[in-house]
Symmetry: D2
C-alpha cells in the first residue's frame, strides 16, 4: 500500500491545480545593507528596501523564492568589490542573475529604495549640514536571444514652494495701502519690485524618475539637483538667522504653483540630460503640502523625453 508521501520532490516544480500564468512572484520588504564603491572616496553605505519578482508560467506551481536571496547576496558582495556601480546597475545585475537561477522565468524585476544623505551648506553662513533624500531604482530583465534590460533611477526631494496666487492678492493690498497713504505710484512700483509680499508657503516634494536602456548612464546627483532647483527655494536642516531670511526671501521672489514646479523640472530635465535618447521615459511629480489646507496639491507629467523636447522646442 502506498503512503501518501514517500519521498519529497520539489513541490514548487509541480503542476499547479489551477494553470494560470502569474505576472509577478517574489518577495517584498527585503532590507539589505548596500555598499557602493566610489573612486577615491569611502563607499556609500545604504540600508535599502528591495522588491524582487519573476514571472511564473501556468504549468509551474511555485517560484523558489530563496533563490532570490542568493542572487541578491552575490551581487551585493560584488558591488562593494567592483570599482563603480550605480544603484540602477546593481538592480540590473540582480535582475540578470534572477533569469539565470529561475530558468522558467521570462522576466525579472528588481526594485530598490533607500534614504541617501547629501552634504550641503547653509546659503549665507555656509555651515555644513546633512540633507536626507529618498532615492530609488528599478531594473527589468527580459529573456530573449540576449537578455534585454531596462532600468529606472529616480529621487524624491523636499523643497519649499510659495503660492503665486495669494501673493498677487497680498501685493495688490500693499499697493493700495501705499497709494492711500500718499506714496507716489512710481515709488510703490519700485518697492514692490524689491520686496516680495507674503503668501502661503509649504513643503513641496518633487520626484523625478527616468527609465532608459541598460547602456545609458544617469547620475543620481544630477536628478537630485534638478529637483532642488525647480521649487521656490531649497530647504536646509541648519539655518542661522541670516540664512533663514535668505531662504524666505528667495522663496517669495520665486513663487510657484504645483504645476510650475513640474514644468520647471521638465525643462531642467531636458537641459541636463541631453545625452539620453528620445525614448527615455520621464515621470515628474510634485506634491505640495498646502499650509492653508489639510489636503495636498498634486501635479504630474509622464512622457517620453522626445515629447518633452518637442513641446519645449515648439515655443
Amino acid at each position: 500500500m502506498d503512503l501518501p508521501v514517500i519521498n519529497l520532490p520539489d513541490v514548487q516544480a509541480n503542476k499547479p491545480a489551477i494553470a494560470i500564468n502569474l505576472t509577478r512572484v517574489g518577495v517584498t520588504e527585503v532590507k539589505k545593507l548596500v555598499e557602493i564603491a566610489r573612486v577615491g572616496k569611502r563607499p556609500i553605505v545604504l540600508i535599502s528596501k528591495f522588491k524582487i519578482f519573476v514571472d511564473l508560467p501556468h504549468d509551474r506551481k511555485g517560484a523558489n523564492l530563496s533563490r532570490n536571496f542568493e542572487a541578491i547576496g552575490e551581487v551585493l558582495e560584488e558591488a562593494i568589490a567592483s570599482p563603480v556601480m550605480g544603484i540602477e546597475q546593481l538592480c540590473g545585475e540582480v535582475a540578470r542573475r534572477l533569469l539565470s537561477c529561475h530558468e522558467y522565468a521570462t522576466r525579472a524585476e528588481v526594485h530598490m529604495e533607500s534614504e541617501y544623505i547629501i552634504k550641503r551648506q547653509s546659503p549665507q553662513t555656509h555651515m555644513n549640514c546633512q540633507e536626507v533624500v529618498n532615492i530609488f531604482a528599478k531594473a527589468t530583465a527580459i529573456r530573449g536571444e540576449n537578455v534585454l534590460i531596462r532600468k529606472v533611477i529616480g529621487a524624491e526631494v523636499i523643497g519649499m514652494t510659495a503660492c503665486p496666487c495669494a501673493q498677487e492678492i497680498m501685493r495688490e493690498k500693499a499697493q493700495k495701502e501705499l497709494i492711500d497713504l500718499g506714496v507716489p505710484s512710481k515709488t510703490v512700483a519700485a518697492f514692490l519690485m524689491k520686496v516680495p509680499m507674503a503668501t502661503h508657503n509649504q513643503r513641496g516634494i518633487g520626484t523625478i524618475s527616468i527609465e532608459v536602456h541598460e547602456d545609458n548612464e544617469i547620475s543620481i546627483e544630477d536628478i537630485i539637483n534638478v529637483i532642488e532647483m525647480s521649487m521656490s527655494s531649497r530647504v536646509y536642516e541648519l539655518l542661522k538667522r541670516t540664512d533663514e531670511a535668505y531662504v524666505v526671501e528667495t522663496a517669495h521672489a520665486n513663487p510657484k504653483f504645483v504645476e510650475d514646479c513640474v514644468r520647471t523640472m521638465a525643462k531642467n530635465v531636458v537641459n541636463k540630460f541631453k545625452h539620453l535618447p528620445d525614448d527615455s521615459v520621464i515621470t515628474i511629480k510634485q506634491v505640495n503640502e498646502e499650509s492653508i489646507h489639510r489636503h495636498n496639491a498634486f501635479a504630474e507629467r509622464q512622457s517620453l523625453l522626445g515629447e518633452l523636447r518637442e513641446e519645449l522646442n515648439r515655443q
Copy 2:
C-alpha cells in the same frame, strides 16, 4: 507709468512660462464623509480618502483646484439622496462633473479608498463580529463626442495562509516517527489523511481590482467574498476556543502558497463574474507576511478577464 499689478485677472488661466502639457493636476489626501443609500437599510457611512485629477494643456498656467471640491461636494449630497449608488458610480459622477467644470480638460480621474465594516459570525459558536476591509474605487472620464467612463472597484482583505512546503516536511517526519514506533503504514496513512500536520502560517492580504465600462455592475460584497474564500482560511475578530480550533484545522487542511492564492482568486473571479465582458481588466495580488521571515511573499496577476477565461478553459 504702469504699476506691476493693476487688476487681478485669473492667474491660473494665464499662459505659463514653460508650455508643457501636464498629465494630472489636482488634489490628494482629501477626506470626506460619504453616505451611501441602501434600499430598505440604513445608509452606509464611510470616511473616504479621495484623489482628484484633471489633465492640463500646455497653454494654461493652472487648474482651479477649488472647483474639485465643489464638484465632489455636489455629488456627495446627491449620493445620499439618490436611491442606490455604488462607490465606483459615485467616482464616475464626480469625474463627469469635473469635465464640466474644467472646460479645458480632456480627462478627469477620481480615486477613493475607505475602510468598510462587514458583519460576520464566528465559524462554530456563531457569535457576531465585525471585520474591517479596505475598499477602493476609481473612475476615469474621457471627453469625446460623449463622455466615456471607465471605472474600477476593488477590495483588500486579510486572511490566513498556511505553507504547503513546510507541511510536507512535517508530514514526512510524522510518518517516519509512526512507522519507527511500529504503527502499520495503512494506519499511518489514515491518520495523516485526518489530521493535518504543522507548518508556518500567517496573515495574508488578498487584493482584487476590476476595471470595466460604466454600464457594468459589480458588487463589492462579491469581490470581498472571493478574496475571503481564496486563502487557507478566513480570519475573525472574535473566536472562542472551538472556533479557534476550527480555523487552525481548516487552514492546515487547505495549505496554499502565495501563488496558489492568486490562482484561486483568478478562478473564483471567472466563476463569480460571468456577466462581465472579456475586456474587463483584472488585477489580483496576494501578500503573505511570512511568519518565518521579516520579509513578505508576493504574487500578482494582471490581465484581461478574457485571457483568464481562456487559460482556465484550456485545462
Copy 3:
C-alpha cells in the same frame, strides 16, 4: 500509563512557568464601528481603533482575550441605544466591564482613536466644508472598594503657523527699502502696521488631552475649538480666492512660534475649562512641519490644570 493530554482545562488559568506579574495584557489594532447617539440629531458614526488591556498577576498564565471583545461589543450595543454618551464615557464603560469579566485583574485600560468630521464654513464666502480631525479617549478602571475610573479625552487638529522671527527680518528689509526710496518714516510705520510682511508658514498640528475623574464632563468640540483658535490661522478644505487671501493675511498678522502655540492653548484651556478641578492633567503639544526644513519644530507642556492656573495668575 498517562497520555500527555487527557482532558482540556483552561490553559490560561494555569500557573505559568515564570511567575512574573504583567502590567498590561490585551489586544491592539481592534477596529470597531462606533455609533454615538445625540439628542435631536442623527448619531455620529465613527470607525475607531481600540487598545484594550488588563493587568495579569504572576500566578496566572494567560488573560482570556476573547472576553475583551464580548465586553466591548456589549458596550457598543448600549452606546447606540443610550441617549447620550461621550467617547471617554464609552471607554470608561468598557473598562468597568473588563474588571467584571477578568476577575483576577486589578486594573483595566481602554484606548480609542478615530477620525471625526466637523463642519465649517470658509471664512469669507461662507461655503460649507468638512474638516477631519483626530480624536482620542482613554479610560482606566482600578479595582477597589468601588471601581475608580480616570478618563482622558483629546483631539489633534491641523492649523497654520507663521514664523515671527523671519517676519521681523522681512519687515526690517521692507522698512529700509521704503526709507531709501524716500518714504517718510511715519508713512512707513503706518504701512507696516496695516500690511504684514512675508515669512515662512506651514501646517502645524496642535494636540490637547485632558485627564479627569469619571464624573467631570468635557466637550470634545470645546477641545477642538481651543486648538483651532491657538495657531496663526485655521485651515479650510475649501477656499475661494478671497477666502485664501483672508487666511494668508490672518496668519501673517498673527505670527506664532511653536512655543507660542502651546502657551496660547494653555491659556485658552484655563479660560474654557473653568469647571474642571485643579488635579486635571493637561497635555498640550504642537508640531510645526517647518516649510524651510525637512525636520519639525516641537513644543509641549504637561502639567496639572492647577499649575497652569497659578502660572497665569502670577502675571
Copy 4:
C-alpha cells in the same frame, strides 16, 4: 517718531506674552548619518532619526533651535573620531552639550532610533544572511551641581510565536484519531512527544528597553539576543528547505503565548544583566500579529530590575 522695528534683538530671548513654562521645546524627525567606531572593525554606519528637546522657563519666548543642530553635529564628528561610543553614550553627550548651549534650560532630552543590520546564519545550512532590527536610545541630562544623566537603550526584534492553546486542541484531536485507529496509548504518547502538532503561528515583535545611570554599560547585542531567544523561534531572511523545517519544528516544540514571551524576556534580562543595579528601569513588550485575527495580541511589563529579581527569587 519711533518706527515699529528699529534694530533686531534676539526675538527668542524676549519675555513671552503668556508666561507659561514649557516641558519640552525642540526638533523632531531630524535624520543624521551616525558612524560608530569599533575597535578592530570598520565603523557601524547608521541613518538615525533624532528628537532633541530642552525645557523652557516661563520668562523666555523661544529656544534657539538651530543650536541643537550645532550640538549634535559636533558630537557626531567626535563619535567617529573617538575609540568606542555606544548609541546611548552618544545621546548622553548630545544632551550634556545641549545644557551648555541652552544656558536657561534645566533639562535636555535626546532620542534616537535607527535600523541596524546584524549578521546571522541560517540554522541548518549555515548560509549567511542579514537581519534588520530596530534599535533606539535616549538620554536625559539634568542640570545640578553636576549634570546628572540617565540613559536608555533598547531594541525591537521580529521573531516567530506559536500558540499553545490551539496546539493543545490539535494534539487532543490527533490523540483521539490515533486511539480510534487502534494505536496503543503508549505509542500515541511517544509519538506526540516527538512530533509537535499544528497551531496558528505568526510574527511577534519583542521590545526591551533598559534605563540606567550614565556609568552603567549595556551591550545592544545582548539586548537583541535576549529578545531573539525569548520567542518560539528566531526568524531568518534566508532559509533553504531543511532550515525552514527546522524553524517550523522549533517553533511548534516551543509554543508561547504573548504573556509567555514577556515573562521569558524578563527572566533572560535578569540572567543576562547581573551587573546592573536594582534601580534600572526595565520595559518589556511583545506584540503578536495573530494569524487568525486582524488585531494583535499585546503584553507588557514595566518595572525596576530589583522587582523582577525579587519576583523570580520568590519562586
